[in-house]
Each structure stands twice: as C-alpha cells, then as structure tokens.
C-alpha cells in the first residue's frame, strides 16, 4: 500500500493532484463526466473584482506539444462567483477549493481576496500576479520583487486562509521574486503560469490571436517549469504548487522531486477531460514501480 496524501499549508489533501485555474472552469463541465471529489482539489477560473469579458476571439492557437491562450481572464466577477458559482459547486465538490484571484490594481486584489477568504468552501487563495499592473506602466505585478511583495502583504493583511502567490515565468530571476513573496508573508507559491508566446497565420500574415500574444502551456513547457520549481525550492521554505506541462503520473513524480508539494494540471484537461482522474488512478502503480511508499518522502527529493 502506498500513501498519496499530502498537506498543503496545513490542509490535508488525499492526493497532490489539482486542476489548474482557467482549465477547469468552476468544475461543472467535469463533474458531468466523473465524480471530481477524487481530485486533491482544483483552482477555479481566475476571478476579478468586476466581471470581465476578456479578449475577443481568436483566443486559442496551437503549437508543438502545446497551446496558446489569450482568454484574458473572462469571469463573471467575484460577486457572481460567490452568489452563483460557489453554491452550485457545493452540489458536486465537497473538498476545500482553491480560489484563483487576479487584479489590475492593488485594491482589486485586496477586495477580491477578502471576499473569497470569507467563503467556507475556499481552502486557499491563489493570487495570480502575472496580470499587467495598470498603475505600474503595464508590466505585470509578477515581474518585479517589490510589486510582488506589495501584493502579497496587502492580501495577507485581509485573509485568514493560506495565501499562495502564483508566479510568472517570464522573468529574469524567479527566485528573487519567490523570496520577496515569502518575506512578505506568502504561505505558499504556485508556479509556473504560462510563457508569453505567439503564432502567425501564414495566409493573413497576421498574429492568430486577437491579443497578438498569448500564454504557452502544455508539455512543451514542462522542462522550464521543472527548472523553476527546482530553483525556487532552493530559495524558499514555503511549499510550492508545481505546474506546467504535466500530463501523466510520472510527470507528477518528476515535479514533486523537483520540489512541489502539490501539482496542478492545466492544458491537459482541455484535450483529455478525464486526465486528472486517470493520473490519480495511475499514481499508486507508478509509485510502486518507482519504490515510493509515501509521496511526502519525495518532495524536493532531487535536492538531497
């Protein structure tokens, strides 16, 4: 018998497998397919203070072993999430859920987090700092240690629940930003968000995405994610939620060896709606094959 349970910021999870924000909606589409209570948890669609339509279509492009998205944080706004989505979710998901929050100004982050922190179903807040800072010249909050720390501090001040900061990979030194977040009180870090990428339509000779660039995800980015998780693990002591290109149980083990306490599955949900369930089912056999009895034993195992 192997044990897959882990603990993330004090909350026990049956297994480390979560669905990643933006690829699992609020869970309903997947709950139609299988009982999603088998998940460790999931991070729901990035929520902002106000409703957002996001970018015009085309929002999706393809690349080798990956995809680009420029959804642009479409969501109904925190109020509707609390009034409609969370109550609906209660019918098919009974575990603590991760609330993914985005914003374009400090006050937006703070207010959205404060409201979601008050929801019983929410286990963790996952604060996505990859969004452009409207007051900071358009660079994302996540590209500089100072603004990353600022968001962390402000959100921590209004939240009782664990605050996990989700880092952008589009930076020169992710370890510096990770440390800044830790110093500012973050309870955990989640990485990586998507890499900036683009594709062109050879017929129109223009970018495929209406937004010109989009976020690259999928197996193509797995090595980048592993390197960043490995590096951040060396830089901080708080737990890491690792993601980027995971698509099988072996990838889960690899990400945990690099330093992740839990993992998220993103793009893979879109091409294979049963992937999270399948990975969770495969995990014990893969562990047995690799001589792993307890998943906690391998977190950061590559560093020893």
């Amino acid at each position: 018998m192997v044990s897959t349970a882990v603990s993330l910021c004090g909350i026990r999870m049956d297994n480390p497998v979560m669905a990643a924000s933006g690829t699992f909606g609020y869970g309903a589409e997947f709950a139609d397919l299988y009982d999603i209570n088998c998940l460790g948890s999931f991070s729901f669609k990035g929520t902002t203070l106000h409703p957002r339509f996001g970018n015009p279509t085309p929002r999706i492009a393809e690349s080798a072993s990956g995809m680009l998205n420029a959804v642009g944080l479409q969501n109904p706004g925190v109020e509707k999430v609390i009034e409609e989505e969370l109550p609906r979710m209660r019918a098919f998901f009974s575990k603590p859920v991760m609330a993914n929050v985005s914003g374009f100004a400090l006050e937006e982050y703070v207010e959205t987090c404060r409201l979601l922190d008050g929801q019983e179903q929410v286990g963790w807040l996952e604060v996505n700092i990859s969004c452009p800072n409207v007051h900071g010249g358009g660079m994302s909050f996540g590209t500089c240690p100072q603004s990353a720390a600022e968001v962390t501090r402000a959100v921590k001040a209004v939240c009782k629940k664990p605050v996990i900061i989700k880092l952008s990979p589009n930076v020169s030194d992710i370890a510096a930003i990770a440390r800044a977040c830790e110093d500012a009180g973050a309870d955990g870090l989640s990485l990586i968000n998507t890499l900036v990428g683009m594709r062109l339509n050879l017929k129109t000779r223009k970018p495929i995405l209406s937004n010109v660039t989009g976020g690259l995800s999928g197996p193509a980015i797995l090595p980048v994610a592993l390197a960043m998780v490995y590096r951040v693990y060396q830089a901080v002591r708080i737990p890491i939620v690792g993601m980027g290109g995971i698509s099988c149980a072996r990838d889960v083990v690899e990400m945990m060896l690099a330093g992740a306490t839990a993992v998220q599955i993103g793009a893979a949900n879109l091409v294979d709606p049963y992937i999270c369930r399948d990975i969770i089912e495969d995990l014990p056999a893969v562990m047995a094959q690799l001589g792993i009895h307890n998943l906690n034993d391998i977190i950061g195992g590559a560093h020893s």
Binding site: T23, G25, T57, V71, P273
Partner: protein, 242 residues
C-alpha cells in the same frame, strides 16, 4: 458528451480536398443535428472540431476539408484505424422553430451539419429547400444526397456550376419564413444582412477544449457572453452581433 475510440469504416475523397469519413462507435450523446465532435489527430496537441453530417445508432459521418496538418492526418486514416473522439458537443439546431418551408443555406464545408438537419426536417414532415455555395465545380459534394431530400440550388463563385456568385445571389422562395445556415463567417454575416426572416446560424471559433472548460471560444451576443462550443455553435440570428 462521450469520449472514446471510434473506428474508421471508410474514408474517401468526395470533392477537391474534401473527404467523407464514416466511423463506428457510441453515438448516444448525439441528440440534435448541428452538434459536433472534437477529435484527436496524430501528433497535434489540440483536438479538431468537426460537425456531424449524419448519424444512426452506431455510426456517424463527417465531411472535412484538408486545410492543415490535422485534417491532412485525417485524410490518411484507413478502414479499421481508431480515432479518439469527444462526441455530442454543442447545442445543435432547433427544428421546432422552422415553419413548414425552412430554407437551408450552406457554404463549402459548412454544409455537413445541414444534411442531418434536412433529414430530420423531412422526417418531421417539413419541406425544406437548400442553397449550397462553393468556389467552383470541383468543390461540389453531396449534391445528389441533398437532392434526394429536397430541391437544391447550387451557386459557385466562378460560375462553373449552377448560379454564379455567392449564396446571397439566390432570392429565397416567398413561402420560406425561417432559415438555417452554416458556412464561412463572411457568408453568415452577409446572410444576416440580406435575409429579413429569422433563422439559426452555426458558427466556428478556434477551440481549446470544445466542451465549455476553457472560455477559449466565447463571443459576445445580445443575450450575454456565450461559449460557441457549449451554448453554440448554433445561435439565433437575433442574438448575433456582427
């Protein structure tokens, strides 16, 4: 929605770069004409959405144009090959609003979903008509199949077959009070502009998932933001904002 392996029964070219594929497998998730499948093509990350042209209890027909790597891969499949497919996606056409003489208008590979629609309308005792538009004679397909169900007018851009010009060149019969359309976006837009009657249109968008999870296909409509893959691909003319 169901996911599973479907087995190719046949796969043959039926017009220029246009193929018809017959597959065996679970069709229980198909409830309405105009629904689509999302299928995995070898070596490509995202699935490819294709409308269902026709189906029965255990088989379905797809018609697709080879326009890129995924459809090229499809055209190389042979009888017996398995294809991983999500089946029964989207809302499909509502035949309840059609009136007695619905007009069907299809452009190129927008025609496939109209075939099952026509079969169903006929079965319901309605008398549909069809305008089918192509670039040239070489592209024309399923003319006889459609003619067995109803009167058909063909248009081609170069005049090599039927009426020269766009499908909008053909004035609708006076007794038509409702239309169903599927085809390239400029065609649909033009139709909404020139047809006074109400109707339903099937749209295309690049898709991440095809089953409502990613918000990759959302458009603004007069009735709010809608996912083409979930609340669509079929929309009422009145909802659409061009």
């Amino acid at each position: 929605m169901t996911q599973g392996q479907y087995i190719v029964i046949s796969n043959r070219p039926i017009a220029a770069a246009t193929w018809e594929m017959l597959l065996a497998g679970d069709t229980s998730a198909l409830t309405r004409p105009g629904q689509f499948v999302n299928l995995r093509t070898g070596g490509h990350y995202l699935r490819r959405p294709l409308s269902v042209c026709a189906w029965d209890d255990s088989r379905l027909t797809l018609i697709y144009k080879v326009v890129g790597q995924g459809t090229d891969w499809l055209s190389e499949r042979q009888a017996g090959d398995p294809i991983d497919m999500l089946c029964g996606l989207g809302n499909g056409f509502d035949t309840g609003l059609s009136g007695q003489h619905p007009l069907l208008i299809g452009g190129g590979v927008g025609l496939p979903p109209l075939y099952q629609l026509a079969r169903q309308l006929v079965q319901e005792g309605k008398q549909p008509r069809l305008i089918m538009g192509f670039n040239s004679m070489q592209e024309v397909f399923y003319r006889e199949e459609f003619e067995r169900l109803m009167p058909v007018t063909v248009t081609t851009m170069d005049g090599s077959c039927g009426v020269r010009g766009l499908v909008t060149e053909v004035p609708p019969e006076a007794n038509c009070t409702y239309f169903y359309a599927c085809g390239p976006s400029p065609m649909l837009q033009a139709l909404c502009g020139c047809l006074a009657m109400p109707g339903q249109l099937s749209l295309e968008e690049r898709m991440g998932c095809g089953f409502g999870a990613c918000m990759g296909c959302t458009i603004r409509t007069r009735l709010g933001d809608k996912r083409v893959c979930k609340e669509g691909p079929v929309f009422l003319k009145e909802e659409l904002i061009w």
